[in-house]
């Protein structure tokens, strides 16, 4: 069932088979790919990554991961990713990295083994074999997990209505959890969309709400000076001014001034 190097030489894996994909002859079709061309694209897209593809190549031929015939498998692997790029499938960098890894293992297998003080060099395939085993283990576990009864798909938790008006269930609040939630949201944002987010002084945000509150209560125009609390001094004016600018930017309010240096009025945008 396993091919040695002699057999490999007399068993060219490519150029024997040709398939028609989207009207084009594909010469690099791997020798063991018996798939109708129209389904090919879908099939190739279904791999979860290079390890998944390698596992398929091994398992399809009923080979053992422990004794992966690296020459044959890496040839097939390269054919597959060539086919994938030919079909203009998005080829993640991980696929190319794996091709390089396979090539490296191949070359190390051809070299005489190195004997050091610590003993014989490890099988060049060992690391790849471990990764494949580890991945297959999780892949199978994921498949088993999928067969377990799952809420929403296989069953629902049921409820009866209860008239609970008399009871106001207490709400457990925690400022620590609130802050943690905020921090986690920001961390996620930083991780995924760098530089899109910056922190603003809270007082400006709070002032924006206060201004909108005042405008709503007054149901008309409010002068800028009415928004300023004398006790807050210069800093208060700055905060109010920044909040006003922000509200103009977010298009929530109108601001107008008849003449320079005259009173500035703010009003809600009419809907």
């Amino acid at each position: 069932m396993l091919l040695n190097e002699d057999q490999l030489k007399t068993h060219p894996a490519d150029s024997d088979h040709i398939a028609i994909v989207n009207g084009q002859a594909v010469e690099q079709l791997p020798s063991d790919l018996y798939i109708p061309p129209q389904a090919l694209k879908v099939f190739l897209q279904s791999f979860e990554g290079p390890l998944d593809l390698l596992l398929y190549l091994i398992r399809y031929r009923d080979l053992s991961i422990l004794e992966i015939p690296i020459f044959e498998i890496s040839n097939q692997y390269v054919q597959y990713i060539e086919l994938m790029s030919e079909l203009e499938l998005e080829l993640a960098g991980e696929y190319l990295l794996m091709a390089a890894t396979l090539a490296e293992i191949k070359s190390r297998m051809l070299l005489p083994k190195v004997v050091t003080d610590e003993g014989v060099e490890e099988d060049p395939r060992a690391d790849l074999v471990r990764r494949l085993q580890e991945y297959e283990q999780i892949k199978n576990a994921a498949e088993t997990l999928e067969t377990l009864p799952q809420i929403g798909r296989d069953f629902l938790a049921v409820h009866a209505y209860s008239n609970r008006v008399i009871v106001m269930p207490p709400i457990e609040t925690s400022i620590a959890l609130l802050c943690k939630a905020y921090q986690e949201v920001l961390l996620r944002v930083e991780q995924y969309n760098p530089h899109q987010f910056f922190s603003e002084p809270l007082s400006v945000r709070e002032r924006m709400t206060l201004i909108l509150d005042k405008l709503q209560q007054s149901s008309g125009k409010v002068s800028f000076s009415e928004l300023i609390d004398q006790e807050e001094g210069r800093a208060g004016v700055v905060v109010t001014f920044l909040a006003t600018l922000d509200l103009i930017k977010s298009l929530a309010i109108n601001v107008y001034q008849v003449k320079p240096f005259e009173c500035i009025y703010l009003s809600m945008k009419q809907n």
Partner: protein, 195 residues
């Protein structure tokens, strides 16, 4: 196992969040009349005689509800369980608190997932948020802000009492190591209750 029709109706009523109309229940079986559905409901109600639940017809349809007598017994259970806020809820109210005024769309953009209508509804019901205006963009989305009640619930006097970001970081470098396995949904020691 052959499923008895009346028990299918029971499961349907119990698994639905809203009351179900006779037509909804009819759609579960082929060639059943509304009269037959009503007979099945009566049969179920007769079975519930000694039990603590009953099928009640309300304006929007039928629903199974606990009987009044048992509610009094259950009250301690409901009181016993302080309502815990979900992670999604914490994140939403945190964003509204720190970034107010903010639209629902902006919250979704930052969180990267859609904010369910239930969460917003729930926050309004708790009177933790209010609409302070409308953004003058497409669809005129509501600008959300926190209320005085929100501040009360979290023992804060004003929004600027919320710890600034840098402080949060410091808080959690110690917080994490102390409460390794604690998370949003588990109880933490600093939690207090509001009614």
């Amino acid at each position: 196992m052959a499923l008895e029709e009346k028990y299918v109706i029971e499961a349907a009523l119990l698994s639905s969040d809203e009351p179900l109309k006779v037509q909804d229940l009819m759609s579960l079986f082929e060639g059943i009349s509304s009269a037959q559905v009503k007979i099945l409901i009566d049969q179920l109600n007769a079975e519930y005689k000694n039990r603590c639940i009953e099928i009640v017809e309300v304006s929007s349809g039928y629903r199974i509800s606990t009987k009044k007598e048992v509610n009094e017994i259950l009250i301690p259970l409901w009181e016993l369980k302080p309502q815990k806020l979900s992670r999604a809820m914490y994140e939403t109210i945190a964003l509204i608190a720190y970034r107010q005024p903010i639209t629902r769309g902006e919250i979704e953009e930052i969180r990267g997932v859609s904010v369910s209508a239930n969460i917003i509804k729930n926050l309004f019901e708790k009177e933790w948020i209010k609409v302070v205006g409308h953004k003058d963009t497409l669809g005129k989305p509501a600008l959300l802000a926190t209320t005085a009640k929100f501040l009360d619930s979290f023992n804060l006097k004003k929004i600027s009492d919320l710890p600034p970001l840098e402080e949060i970081e410091e808080m959690f470098t110690s917080y994490d190591s102390e409460t390794e396995s604690e998370s949003i949904e588990t109880k933490d020691h600093s939690a207090h209750q509001v009614h």
